[in-house]
Symmetry: D2
Subunit: 370 residues, 4 copies
């Protein structure tokens, strides 16, 4: 039985003085594997990751561990508990509207001077030192006077500090109503085959504030910078956003399957030494981020979503019917919405009521087998 330790980290305070804390669970490996960081529930309604962490812990405490593994459920103590009607309004700070997963910090500015100083350092030293530099730079941001850090940034920086201590970062999210999909940096495409996830989004080296980007962008930029200096340094860290399905749902059976999926990847990376975790045989489809199509509601109305998630839509297929009961007599009350290209339906909006311009669907277009 592996020992699991538990610590609560304070990441803020609310109006009545209550401390905001996040629970951090840790397991120690034999030190030979890549360090792993897994968090869940940064967006309040996206709870299934907590169940996946539960199922991971159930597996990990009797697995053979090469790696130190840190797991953080309930990563966002504000988002987790923000209700508006039955719904968990945890996607953005309710005061400012800022998306909780757009407040991580870009440490790209560290890259050039690091490369200059470590031009000929051995790879292990580069890995160790740059990781330490990222942790340190994050801690320095947290050590600034309290009045210079906003609420979401403080939560994000505390999580990011933990994440920079790892070589593998998995941020567990869900879509609104969604099929499983994986945000995968282009350089880590080969790793995507070890997750039991049929849809893979390949993302470029652009920082937009999310945890996965905050973790892989500096390492990717580092690799590029060495390349400019004529040295070939691989990207030494992998970071993924794992989209587990739909929000507002806990399914322990599915969570176990997802835990096995993550363990398959972690076994491949030799973090967990357990040969029983093998990836499923499945066709995996990939899509470049610029081909990931957001389809907005072309009119306000009441929507029947007809495109099954994960399904391959043909150009001309109906993807939704929009009901407009205020025009039953004057015009056509029912509008059939079609897509004008082939696509895979990945997720759709969580409500049937939409304004014109509400994000209705997201589609893989120009997709290909991975």
């Amino acid at each position: 039985m592996n020992k699991i330790t538990h610590e609560n980290i304070q990441v803020g305070e609310i109006a009545n003085g209550l401390p905001l804390t996040i629970p951090v669970y840790r397991l120690k490996g034999d030190g030979t594997g890549p360090r792993v960081y897994i968090q869940a529930n940064m967006h309040g309604a996206e709870v299934q990751g907590n169940a996946v962490i539960y199922q991971l812990l159930e597996q990990l405490h009797h697995s053979t561990l090469a790696s130190d593994i840190t797991l953080v459920p309930y990563a966002n103590p504000i988002g987790c508990n923000q209700k508006s009607g039955e719904f968990t309004l945890g996607r953005f700070d309710p005061i400012t509207g800022t998306n909780w997963n757009r407040m991580y910090h870009s440490h790209l500015s560290l890259v050039d001077s690091f490369v200059a100083e470590h031009l000929d350092s051995p790879l292990t030293e580069i890995k160790e030192q740059f990781s330490a530099a990222l942790v340190q730079a994050t801690q320095t941001l947290l050590d600034r006077p309290a009045h210079s850090i906003n609420t979401g940034k403080r939560i994000a920086l505390n999580l990011q500090r933990l994440a920079h201590e790892a070589d593998i970062v998995l941020d567990l999210h869900t879509g609104p109503i969604s099929s499983k999909h994986l945000y995968c940096p282009e350089y880590a495409k080969a790793s995507a085959r070890y997750f039991n996830i049929p849809h893979v989004l390949l993302i470029p080296n652009d920082f937009d504030g999310a945890l996965d980007e905050a973790c892989f962008c500096p390492w990717w930029a580092l690799s590029d910078a060495y390349k400019k200096q004529g040295r070939d340094v691989p990207v030494l860290v992998e970071a993924f956003t794992v989209e587990l399905g739909s929000q507002e749902k806990i399914d322990l059976t599915e969570a176990k399957a997802d835990a096995v999926s993550l363990l398959s990847y972690l076994s491949h990376k030799e973090a967990v030494l357990d040969s029983s975790f093998k990836p499923q045989t499945m066709t995996r489809y990939a899509c470049m981020l610029q081909d990931y199509l957001t389809y907005y509601a072309p009119m306000g109305g009441m929507v029947e979503y007809t495109a099954a998630l994960g399904n391959h839509i043909k150009s001309g297929d109906t993807i939704a019917n929009i009901l407009r009961m205020e025009r039953y007599l004057s015009e056509q009350p029912l509008h059939s919405i079609t897509l004008d290209q082939d696509a895979i339906a990945i997720l759709h909006f969580a409500s049937a009521s939409v304004n014109q311009g509400t994000e209705l669907y997201k589609f893989f277009t120009n997709y290909f087998e991975l």
Copy 2:
């Protein structure tokens, strides 16, 4: 083809001066059947009733109509459009918290003087005159100075005025995540067999602000008052709240089935003269309102709902698992919640995240075959 007419009724104004209107559709029968009023979407997230009205209109314009039928989709123009995140926060006035379906007016005070004045009037006169009195009293409330009527009351009174013009009132709602069920006044139990709805809540003559109650309570009290005077006058109006299933969903196929269910009842009442609409053979279960059990979350946490809606639970069955990841090491992280009596699961909360005391489930207990 029956002619359908359309009118927009103004029920308010919002801050930028925009009028709030509701669309009213009307069909004329030959005058021999009971007048019918059907509305939908008083609670903003409960949209499926609009689709049912769509499917009803599709049927009704080529049916043989004995009755005048009035149909009001989008009954609440504020609730309909109130978004909070993806969710339609349309259960209560966002300013005051008042449930939109608790603002109808009780006209019980009209009963005693009416009976005194119409002690020996023929039944048709009682029906006609009391209906007119209810309409008139509602109009009088609306005619008060504008500064004496709050936002929700003005919407409710406008709808109630239309409803009092009918002999049959159907208010189309949905639960959060829910099986189909019917709120049926006890005296109309026999009618419940004509809806294709397996679960029937029998409600007493208590006014709690809802449209069905506002419509049947005065007539029920009228019947009781005549009884006290030694005269047997049946309850001359039937009003039901029809719970169509889950909120935030449009399903046109299911809506058609529900339209057929309503037409079965309307055929039975000889409002629609179409012998093809027959109730399905099914076991219908009934439950007295006082036996309708609300089960609150006994602890805060992340909930896996395991009781299938419509299912008959046995005492001791697990109805939910509650995950508590903050106590993975210190205590039991997974709590199995059981019910200690036999029951039918009717609906459950729409989110997996609950506070201690959040309404988790509603159950029929002490249920019986109708």
Copy 3:
């Protein structure tokens, strides 16, 4: 220096397992004075009462105390921390819409049997025993299975249990934008002169779910029940809702003045033995609850509030201008709203943007000098 003790009472749990607690401060008197309970911030935006409790504690720890005094700031740990934009959306449960100050329990059902059993008991025994019965009955409600108590009820019952241990209950609230006023049960009218509050609402013995009512209604009903039995038992408990001014504001200077106002009343009741706390000389105006006029916005629009709070309005005076910029050309863009009776403006809505039917003002009408 009086000793102050501190205890945290758990009143719930939220979705991530965090316990909801309220801080309870207690001072001990010499046992000769009436026991006192003071709470603040049951509605989340109404924070000034916390500052008043702060200033009270600053005074009380060097006052001469005859009474045990219990003080509860931050009474509602959910409402306190519920943000929606900059605003603290703490008036109602964000899930259900239920007003947090309408969930206390009526123990009126205890009265008749108590009187039957204690018909000839001495007054001190009546006081002691009925108080114990109220505490016990509240505790019994809390001891029911966790699944039978909703979130707000659990918070309310925990507070109510503390309040029933006292002979004097002060619930500190604020209006939206408001002058100071006092909700005072009619029987306690004489006590209202000891608060430095110029506006007094006299309320009848009707239970509507608020803490003051939950505390005084049973005692008032007890007094009435004894009267029916021919015995004169005074109402032995006093409970007030103290409206301190406007929400979303902390003013420590004003809080000190309000603390002095409360201490003036507590000195009069011989809870605090300090002759320096005397009521200010001021004209106090009273209004019966049924004359407390809610004035709803007669149209949607942008409101300039022109009636100064606390001011005595004459019939025909303009109380607001409503701007309607969408009709600048078509109709009159600026509407002057007048009141058609004499009144004192007590409070107005917190925003300039109103729907038709939004609560614009509350007025004392038919007011009189106390």
Copy 4:
């Protein structure tokens, strides 16, 4: 009397099919002055600009106009009407959290090819043609298929199209609780002296999604691009965000003063030919955008704001007291917050309840006389 025309422009549709429209008022000048565009209320709670437009219209219909003037009150029909409690939650899209004033489009990509094509064109042609290009490019964005434009973008683009038809753009906003201040592009510093606004923020040529930036950035970039080609073309358009004071308030008297302030600037620009509108003599303070200090709450708690807005704070001055009633005994309950540099307090948060990291204040630092 100048003729005012009125048009409603549709900018969207909501869930019940209702069109979203904005009112557009227009006056025609003699064609000799710069075209003027003024809008208000893009953020829902910031209503005072509507009153300023009202007062402007009252002045303008009997002024001598050189310019065509377009005025748009209620610019955001969703934000305007989004209530959450009493508060108008109109700063961001309630579904996505996106700030309504960050969705305008940057047309910077037009600049280079335009300069290449119009290297030697006369100034009037440059002005006319580039303005037309901006209008055209905005229209082209709006003409894309409806499913490619989100809700906020559609509103923003409709407004931006109107704004690009003008040479002077004034976007009327307010802060939460705020003194008057002006966002002024650095190149237009001289114009800032003609507004009666004592605080001027000088902003660089960076696009962050706001209307003023969308309007001036392309022209500023155009000027820079010509400079690179060795030709001196001034920035031909001026655009300002005018912060009128506090949100959620209508004050018609103050609005008249602000209308006069805008007319003083418009007279200076010879848009309105009325010599009576002169700027007030006052000391105007300026601050570079990078010196505009956001001061976040260093702890959660209840805040008494003590820095008067517009006041010049000295280093070490107390700007707020933060009350922490949960630690009355254990620690210091009242924290005095000081600023460690000289500053002018421009605005503060609208609520006394803050989380750690909530934006407490904004200050001008390193300010100087304009």
